[in-house]
Symmetry: C2
Subunit: 140 residues, 2 copies
């Protein structure tokens, strides 16, 4: 089983996980870590580590974070040496990335899942009006 952690500035990690589960159904081994600006990164790192160590039934971890260079992302990187190939970190989390992770987590190994959600999340970023209007024109 691949566990999923969403870690972000503020509490949109929590909101994202809730919305994604509302859409595709309740998930096991998922958690949101929110970081406030007043928090010591070391304390957050301990929270993330505790989360990863707590689930013994989870072999691998997919960690989704908001953006490269931010504190949540940097905290994830401090764990690279400790967890090695047991975890992957992807930045730029959006709703479809989380949904793709939920849908595909039981279908493929971690590295493949990481590539899949990167691809899916990029594809979900779209010029909606252009796409919609081109469909209408195609039907005219």
């Amino acid at each position: 089983m691949i566990g999923i952690v969403v870690i972000t500035h503020g509490d949109f990690s929590k909101a994202l996980l809730e919305t994604a589960q509302d859409i595709v159904g309740k998930q096991q081994f998922v958690s949101a870590i929110t970081i406030s600006y007043s928090e010591d990164p070391k304390v957050v790192r301990q929270r993330l580590e505790k989360e990863i160590n707590a689930n013994k039934t989870v072999d691998d971890w997919l960690i989704l974070t908001d953006m490269v260079g931010g504190t949540p992302c940097n905290i994830c990187l401090t764990l690279v040496e400790k967890f090695g190939e047991k975890y992957e970190v992807v930045s730029g989390v959006n709703l479809y990335m989380v949904i793709s992770a939920f849908i595909n987590r039981n279908k493929m190994p971690l590295t493949e899942l990481k590539n899949k959600i990167i691809e899916d999340a990029r594809l979900s970023i779209m010029d909606v009006k252009e796409k919609f209007l081109s469909r209408i024109k195609a039907h005219e």
Copy 2:
């Protein structure tokens, strides 16, 4: 001035706007619209329309939504005919998309801004571990 609305399932639009403003500073003419599952899409559409019509100092609108095919996105599309070239809709919203919109909204016209945030948001989706490890190797 280009106004920005983030419209999503659940309340992560609100959390996203708060976090982005915590990072780059308080913004004018931005708003979050959250949609619950029990809400009538017509009511949400009215809220979005009211939001757009309320700000007379705003010429154009950039609407950021969670994903194509979802109710928030479909609501935006019902306004295409009404607002025409005065607004753009981009799906797949993530933190960097919002930050890019904030940073660039006064520097370019609406169509250019839409293309810029699509590009920036896609680039923000990254295999963080791979990027980090390749940097370490480059310095070895």
